[in-house]
């Protein structure tokens, strides 16, 4: 069927409410009688709680209640961790601290008041009432596993787990090498900083015994299940609604203490309660990302062929495990083959507890670390062998006909043509000319650097076997009596635009106008169980569920159509939302004996039923069928009324998008500042549903990469004090610092799903960081620089430039 919408730059259907200021984020929902919650949080990284006096706070006008760790310790279950690793140590993570605080921002008490100003006043007044005995803090992992003090005393040390992964004989691979290249790399701690901080509104109906929780989350259904277990309310009495969500980037792919506590407080007080995270709370107590320090060793032949790769890494997990904390570094291990044939790979990871907020899934989640390790070390190898970085990459690429391609990390890459993306990026950037210009600029005393990255990522998470809580996604599609098409998706998009892209898929498949489709998500009271939006999965997995649900729906619609037109279903063709009875004679004349039939139906048969006026109509729209299906007077025997289908799609494999990014930087010799003067991104995310949305995802992803490469870092000082606790100190990329992006694509469809899509949400964040750092290192290579750690701040660059020669 001709695609009217899929593949086109369709403007987003969700935009009108957003650009008019009429959308509803959690804080925009006002319920009468709502009480407001403010938290008292630790200002120390590590301290023993010796007493809490709440009496002064309770005197503040408007204060209704104050809860401390002791009040809830036996009432609310621990914050859950879904990662299952062998011998994993899992600390008991209570929603309010009980005997010790373990990080700056650790909640100690919750104050409930009639308005938010009073709640904050009371929280401030309460803080001096908290008696804390400060303890030394475990902060840095730069020099390996910190041994003292032990944060969770009963564990005996600060090691949460140790894991070795990979395939192939790594020792033999290293022996077979002509030389070994070794490089230590730091992946600094980052804060996701969704522009909308977290927020929770909870309302309990004591009569109905029902609790509704509005939360700014990426996973409404998983959150419902976990909250039901934590609070002890039947899951079918709990409804989670995610209204508009102002960005997530993985930070809202979690179950947080505040979500459970708010639900519980509402049940205690029988009133709606609201908590909106301040930005300071957001930086301190919403998950962080990255935070790995590792050393990569690569065995190479003198021609650049890689024989083996080993990565020894310490991962800074923070004080507790949030939902996926310990699992994130394991994703790094999965992607250490990058875009290359590497016969043996080994990762040895040690996850350690520190007195900091938990790390967890931040856009890319473990894969940016792998890509950075591989793509950075490719440049180190090129330098070692005095080869062009492109040559080293080409030498180790699998060829397009080698897919599915098995890696020594245990994966099977679905499809790819890495050379094609590389070539396109080289052509688009004018690479040879760039190198010539660089040489000229250098001769004129300018510092120009060119860096590239040929990345692969793992997306469309994923088969359920590889996921902690289901890797499928669900969709229900129904055609209402008036012919309007309703799509309910279990994915819960929060800015990615699936209200539009899923409507495109549905409008094309059902053959209706885009405006006749509404996509509903993020409400467990309305939508069937779903997994959520993360891991670049929503379109590849959730979009496929929509597609197949429509196929199922059309099987039924065709039977009803055949019944209404008094013919066999095999004689129907479907086009532009309309079933038509095929003229058998006409088909014979044209020689085309196979009319278009919907999936699930047999091919045109031999029935020679000649239409006559008495047979009734020869055409009927699917929207008319929907009405007939609901009125149910004209249905074939044994047919259920209604026109609706649900499908849960379970992918057989992940997908593996890839691409090449090329970055050109110029460094200001006087200030050490890095300016990106050209950026070319060629990405292959398989089939594209909406190029406009794909460009948006790519741009945004690259900018988060630039943030990591050049600006961002969550900094804790030696005492574990958070010194980048506001946006005044945590440096987010700004419009004036960002370059223009030239984007293009190659298109290698994924065989994993019938849409052929691979996913694109994290591509920029995974692929771009090494291209930028490689460019900076290249620019500074005249100074003998072989590696720089992120973020590459002007000061560090300035010192290199100013250092006395030799």
């Amino acid at each position: 069927m001709a695609d009217k919408y899929v593949g086109k730059r369709v403007k987003r259907t969700e935009d009108p409410r957003l650009i008019k200021g009429l959308a509803h984020y959690v804080d925009d929902i006002g319920l009468p009688g709502t009480l407001h919650v403010a938290f008292v949080r630790s200002m120390y990284a590590h301290a023993r709680i010796t007493g809490i006096d709440t009496s002064e706070a309770l005197k503040v006008p408007g204060v209704v209640a104050v809860y401390t760790g002791k009040d809830i310790a036996t009432k609310i279950g621990p914050v859950p961790c879904a990662a299952a690793l062998p011998d994993l140590k899992v600390p008991d993570y209570r929603v309010l601290a009980t005997d010790k605080v373990l990080f700056v921002g650790h909640p100690i008490a919750a104050v409930v008041a009639t308005d938010k100003y009073a709640a904050r006043d009371a929280a401030e007044i309460l803080y001096p009432g908290v008696e804390l005995e400060e303890l030394p803090a475990v902060v840095s992992i730069i020099d390996g596993v910190p041994t003292t003090p032990v944060i969770h005393e009963h564990f005996g040390d600060n090691i949460a787990y140790k894991l070795t992964s990979g395939e192939g004989d790594i020792e033999a691979a290293m022996k077979a090498a002509d030389r070994i290249v070794k490089q230590k790399m730091i992946h600094q701690r980052l804060a996701p900083i969704a522009m909308e901080p977290r927020g929770v509104l909870a309302r309990y109906f004591p009569g109905e015994e029902e609790l509704t929780v509005w939360s700014s989350t990426q996973i409404p259904h998983l959150l419902r299940t976990q909250l039901a277990l934590m609070i002890g309310i039947p899951e079918n009495k709990l409804r989670v609604i995610t209204p508009e969500v102002g960005g997530g980037f993985g930070s809202k792919l979690n179950v947080y203490a505040e979500e459970a506590l708010l639900g519980w407080i509402s049940m205690q007080l029988g009133k709606p309660v609201k908590w909106i995270e301040s930005r300071r709370e957001n930086v301190a107590a919403t998950i962080h990302g990255r935070a790995q320090v590792g050393t990569v060793e690569v065995g190479i032949k003198n021609d650049g062929t890689i024989t083996g790769l080993r990565y020894n890494v310490v991962a800074d997990l923070g004080a507790y495990h949030q939902l996926l904390t310990p699992a994130i570094p394991t994703l790094t291990g999965l992607m250490l083959s990058g875009a290359y044939k590497i016969p043996a790979i080994q990762m040895n990871v040690t996850g350690v507890f520190t007195n900091k907020m938990s790390t967890d899934a931040y856009r890319g989640a473990g894969r940016p670390e792998a890509t950075y390790v591989v793509e950075r070390v490719m440049d180190v190898i090129a330098r070692e062998l005095n080869l062009d970085p492109i040559e080293v990459r080409r030498k180790n690429f699998p060829k397009a006909d080698e897919f599915p391609f098995h890696t020594a990390t245990g994966l099977d890459y679905d499809s790819g043509d890495y050379e094609a993306a590389l070539k396109k990026a080289l052509d688009l950037s004018g690479y040879q000319k760039l190198r010539e210009e660089q040489k000229k600029a250098r001769d004129n005393g300018k510092l120009i650097g060119i860096g590239l990255s040929s990345y692969v990522e793992i997306c469309a998470l994923g088969p359920s076997q590889a996921m902690p809580a289901g890797g499928w996604e669900s969709a229900t599609v129904r055609i209402e009596p008036t012919g309007k098409v309703t799509v309910l998706t279990g994915a819960s998009p929060h800015g990615q635009g699936q209200e539009t892209s899923f409507a495109q898929i549905a409008a094309d498949e059902v053959g209706v106008d885009l405006n006749d489709v509404t996509v509903i998500h993020g409400d467990t009271g309305i939508v069937q169980y779903g997994i959520g939006t993360f891991g670049s999965r929503a379109t590849a997995v959730g979009g496929t569920a929509v597609l197949i649900a429509i196929h199922k729906l059309k099987e039924k619609a065709a039977k009803i159509a055949a019944h209404m037109m008094q013919c066999d279903a095999s004689r129907l063709s479907f086009e532009a939302g309309c079933y038509s009875k095929q003229e058998a004679a006409a088909a014979a004349v044209t020689g085309k004996s196979e009319p278009v039939v919907p999936v699930g139906e047999g091919p045109a048969g031999a029935l020679n039923e000649v239409p006559t006026p008495t047979n009734g109509r020869n055409k009927i729209t699917i929207q008319e069928i929907a009405l007939a299906a609901h009125i149910a007077k004209e249905l074939p025997p044994d047919t259920e009324p209604g026109l609706s289908a649900t499908y849960f799609f379970e992918p057989k494999n992940f997908t593996f998008p890839f691409g090449t990014h090329i970055c050109v930087v110029e460094i200001d010799k006087d200030t050490g500042e890095t300016k990106i003067i050209k950026y070319v991104a060629v990405d292959d995310c398989g089939k594209v549903i909406n190029p406009l949305l794909v460009d948006g995802q790519v741009h945004g992803g690259i900018v988060q990469s630039i943030g990591q490469a050049l600006y961002e870092e969550v900094v804790y000082d030696e005492q574990g004090q958070l010194v980048t606790g506001e946006l005044m100190d945590y440096a987010l990329p700004r419009a004036s610092q960002m370059p223009w992006f030239d984007t293009d694509r190659t298109e290698t469809p994924s065989p994993v799903n019938p849409l052929g899509v691979k996913g694109v949400g994290e591509a920029g964040t995974i692929g771009a960081t090494p291209a930028i750092v490689n460019a900076v290192v290249d620019a500074l290579s005249p100074y003998g620089v072989k590696h720089l750690d992120m973020p590459v701040r002007p000061e560090a660059v300035w010192r290199i430039i100013r250092a006395p020669e030799g």
Binding site: K11, K20, Y117, M195, P197, G246, Q704, L732, M738, W740
Partner: protein
């Protein structure tokens, strides 16, 4: 003690009494129910709360409601005239200048000032004008294109 104020918001006079410490953004959102203006950082860094006060783009999270007494305020809800989108709103829609939408009202209000001051801004001037507004989704490129679109449309 509460203080009497009167602020004209989107063409309507709102007399009221507020605590002197009430932030303007809370007055707009919680008292007047105009929730299109968002709070993103509470420190004037992110610009999600940007509104126009007497035609000037201002961050309403670090201004008290009493300071706006007697002024004319325009919020995102008041931008579309007679149901027609403002060229900047149109530009954001056409050019995919938003994803999660949270920074968008502030971005749009700031952008109206950019083209008010300079009907034909260069890309560099647009980026400079957007420096006080943070977006974590778009990478800014589509926002720059949206402002270019709006500038063309407004001067057409």
């Amino acid at each position: 003690m509460k203080q009497a104020i009167s602020i004209n918001v989107n063409g309507v006079d709102y007399p009221g009494e507020v605590e002197p410490r009430m932030l303007l953004v809370h007055y707009l959102r919680d008292v007047l129910g105009l929730t299109g203006t968002h709070v993103g950082c509470e420190t004037s860094i992110c610009g999600a709360c940007t509104i126009l006060i007497d035609g000037q783009a201002v961050k309403s999270c670090t201004m008290f409601a009493v300071q706006a007494d007697g002024s004319n305020v325009t919020t995102i809800e008041g931008l579309a005239a007679n149901g027609n989108l403002h060229p900047v709103q149109e530009g954001f829609w056409e050019c995919h200048g938003l994803q999660c939408g949270y920074c968008t009202p502030g971005m749009i209000m700031t952008s109206t000032q950019i083209i008010d001051r300079n009907p034909d801004p260069s890309r560099e001037e647009i980026r400079h004008g957007l420096e006080g507004n943070l977006c974590r989704c778009t990478g800014y490129q589509h926002i720059v294109e949206a402002v270019e679109y709006a500038a063309k449309k407004a001067s057409a």
